[in-house]
């Protein structure tokens, strides 16, 4: 699962991109990362825990001549490495007074 934050100017140029990944790392007893069910003996847990809300904050500084940006925040759910879909998304356009 990925929380994806992007900002684009009015021409669609990307000004900012950041993401936070939620996933499990399975390791064998040597602590090498593994995929096989018979190899994995422990996990390192970077997932979203239940009964909780995680707060993720991002600071976006644009260039001094930026008049308009559109910020998109998307929560992607991946059923496997390849195929994912957006579960929730929020989009907002901001306008700035420039000097």
């Amino acid at each position: 699962m990925v929380l994806d934050v992007t900002a684009k100017d009015s021409n669609g140029n990307e000004l900012f991109k950041a993401e936070k990944k939620y996933f499990e790392i399975g390791v064998d007893t040597d602590r090498d990362m593994r995929y096989g069910a018979w190899q994995i003996k422990e996990i390192i847990d970077l997932t979203l825990p239940p009964m909780q809300t995680q707060k993720e904050q991002f600071l976006l500084n644009f260039d001094s001549d930026t008049e308009e940006v559109t910020i998109d925040v998307k929560l992607w759910y991946y059923i496997n490495g390849k195929s994912g879909h957006v579960v929730h998304s929020v989009s907002e356009t901001l306008e700035y007074e420039i000097d």
Partner: protein
């Protein structure tokens, strides 16, 4: 001796009851897939319980070998053959199939090994008629009606209930009906029933298999923080048998909350190195996302 003749009498007495005659042969192990599937014959259940069948058919429980083919193949060809340097036996392949196809517990040693070899063929010769044929055979092995309502039904409380009796049907209420012999096993509606297969597995020899770790999170995080809903509350609403999970966009959306707050401001001039004009205010924003997990366990799993 006494016990034996009593059993034989019971077998004859129960010949009139639909499923009971099979219970006389429960100890026998099957030598072919067809024999095995017949031993735990779900097709009978489908005839009367069409709703449950149609729902179940859309769920991953209906095809749990072919949907995990590559992984199980790797266990056989890499895990057993190379890393462990251990012969392929029924006990070894059950380290996957005790969950992926519980009926294999009743396969003969020879058949269990044969099933494992079919898994390798289905994967390695994909696209050939040979692979197609074995894939079709493997599709007969699943987590079906009798896997849950018999084979695994009492396993979490065997001391109390004993082993599941072949031919009987276990349900949470155990309400009898004219069609079959139903036995109460209230654990079917408890989380522990699902956790047998949805969590870390201890094989009889002690080997730990971590195919998925979901029930650990259910117990240690969800229950621990006060969550009390069962797996069935969320995944079997109205006793429906389609078991929605990660492939169902609706339940995924229900399980995740996203609240975003975006605040706009201008950063002090001269503090943002990348800005073209170091004397100008810098257009800026702070994005705060609150991501909530409303499921009964970590997201994602595995």
């Amino acid at each position: 001796m006494k016990r034996k003749s009593w059993l034989i009498a019971l077998c004859f007495a129960s010949l009139t009851v639909m499923f009971a005659p099979q219970s006389c042969f429960a100890e026998k192990l099957a030598n072919t897939i067809d024999e095995l599937v017949k031993m735990y014959d779900d097709t009978k259940c489908w005839e009367c319980h069409t709703d449950q069948h149609d729902e179940w058919k859309t769920s991953f429980h209906s095809n749990p070998i072919n949907s995990s083919l590559g992984g199980i193949r790797n266990f056989i060809m890499i895990g057993l053959a190379k890393e462990w340097n251990t012969p392929l036996t029924k006990a070894q392949i059950l380290k996957c199939l005790d969950c992926h196809a519980p009926v294999v517990n009743f396969a003969s040693e020879k058949l269990a090994v044969q099933i494992a070899e079919m898994i390798v063929t289905a994967n390695d010769k994909k696209g050939t008629p040979e692979a197609e044929a074995v894939t079709k055979e493997l599709a007969k092995l699943n987590v079906g009606c009798t896997a849950c309502h018999n084979i695994k039904a009492t396993a979490t409380a065997q001391g109390l209930r004993g082993k599941a009796v072949h031919g009987k049907i276990y349900s949470a209420s155990g309400y009898g009906n004219d069609e079959h012999d139903t036995v109460e096993a209230v654990e079917l509606k408890r989380s522990i029933f699902c956790m047998q297969c949805h969590g870390i597995y201890s094989a009889p020899d002690g080997e730990k298999i971590q195919c998925n770790t979901l029930s650990g999170s259910y117990q240690d995080a969800y229950n621990n923080l006060g969550g009390t809903e069962t797996c069935q509350d969320c995944h079997m609403k109205d006793n429906k048998h389609n078991f929605p999970g990660g492939h169902d966009k609706e339940i995924v959306a229900e399980g995740l909350g996203l609240n975003v707050q975006i605040t706009q401001y201008r950063h002090l001039p001269g503090q943002v190195e990348t800005a073209k004009n170091q004397k100008a205010w810098v257009p800026s924003a702070v994005v705060t996302a609150f991501v909530e997990n409303k499921a009964g366990h970590r997201i994602p799993d595995g």
